[in-house]
Assembly symmetry: C2
Homo-oligomer: 243 residues x 2
């Protein structure tokens, strides 16, 4: 009966939590300097290695950064969108691969999120976003493209679509969903015909974005989702047939 809340965590975990709370609650502002390791060890009544373990935990979450030398120390890190991206991608990737999320579920989520962005992108995309989308479509039609390169181009296309919405929070959220799915997408072997089908749908979506027609873009995304799900189904059933 020792479960529930009665488990005293590691000292280093406790200390990390205490400092993290201070950061999240705003008691410690960005770029503020934490006390030195020796002072922290004093304050928390633990040894320096224990304090260091706590600080490394925080560093792993990009909550602090450290600097050596006089007037060095640990500083509250102003987390960047890039930091957040990469963390989200690692987490999402592991979540998908280790929790055996079905391709269907992941795919549905991805396209639902993209449909959330498309209308905004149709209204606000810059010329550069549209140019990227067109360029990737051309690349997708090129012959002698490996399956992986095709997937990468696919990601680039969708990324441009999402970034066109000009909302960094959306871009950040989508990065995880789209990039984490790439390993799953790589399972699919693309035939020349399915590639042309996808590129054509991309073309329809790009046209809609160019015309500022969000609804049409969403219709294209829905068709693309159906197409992707069909391809995945074929691969899976073929694999079952083999085995």
């Amino acid at each position: 009966m020792k479960n529930a809340t009665a488990r005293p965590a590691d000292l280093s975990a406790q200390i990390a939590t205490a400092i993290r709370d201070a950061i999240v609650s705003g008691d410690l502002l960005a770029d503020a300097r934490l006390p030195s390791e020796a002072e922290l060890a004093d304050q928390f009544q633990v040894s320096r290695p224990t304090v260091r373990e706590a600080l490394k935990r925080l560093a792993a979450q990009s909550l602090i950064r450290t600097q050596r030398g006089a007037s060095g120390g640990a500083f509250v890190n102003r987390i960047t969108f890039e930091d957040a991206y990469s963390q989200q991608i690692t987490t999402s990737t592991l979540l998908l691969s280790m929790n055996a999320v079905s391709f269907e579920t992941a795919c549905e989520a991805r396209f639902a999120l993209e449909r959330a962005c498309a209308p905004l992108s149709a209204a606000r995309r810059g010329a550069a976003h549209l140019a990227t989308m067109r360029r990737e479509i051309r690349r997708q039609r090129g012959p002698s493209l490996t399956d992986e390169a095709f997937c990468a181009s696919d990601v680039a296309f969708h990324r441009a679509l999402v970034d066109g919405a000009a909302n960094p929070v959306l871009s950040y959220q989508l990065a995880g969903a789209v990039e984490a799915m790439q390993p799953l997408m790589n399972m699919i072997t693309y035939t020349a015909r399915s590639r042309e089908g996808i590129a054509a749908l991309h073309g329809r979506i790009a046209d809609a974005i160019e015309a500022g027609d969000g609804a049409a873009a969403n219709a294209g995304l829905s068709d693309l989702e159906r197409e992707t799900q069909n391809l995945a189904r074929d691969v899976l059933s073929a694999r079952r047939g083999d085995a």
Copy 2:
């Protein structure tokens, strides 16, 4: 001229990266046991404290868990949706608070993501989700409700809406967006009239979900977004007036 890639990171960071790569690439499967700290120290030619700092970094990202005692050690963690939730919420919260994302941007992202879920929720929501939504609406109409409690109820309502889509990947993605916005939402002081307006819109959305009408639900969400943006604008302009 020592910048660029030429900066050798901490040993503990290098080791953490090496192990993380092994996990992400699938060389280390879930629940696999890592070598003991002493063995790792040997393999990497470093001392045990350094290895421990590396392991704590990984533990902070829920990539491993440790267990004491004989046949204990560090094990590759099968990351749960719950782990991912909480990580995403911390990251998103900090991102919003420290990068000075405007209320407008965050709000737009949040409602765009919710509109992505609503049609799915309309098609698949269970009775429990609908019941939760109705219950929260009743609560929101109750008198003597603090602003914070009103916000919490708001989150619960939207959470039920999202969970109704029955797609754990979407729920996970949305958790960050919705919960991270709560501090921003708490800035708003809700008058009796604005509360009734929000509750009424919630009612419309719940009706649409009950009727299985995704488009109507999205229309309701769009109106709610407008309403929320207006409230925030009022608060901000009032604050400017005060100062």
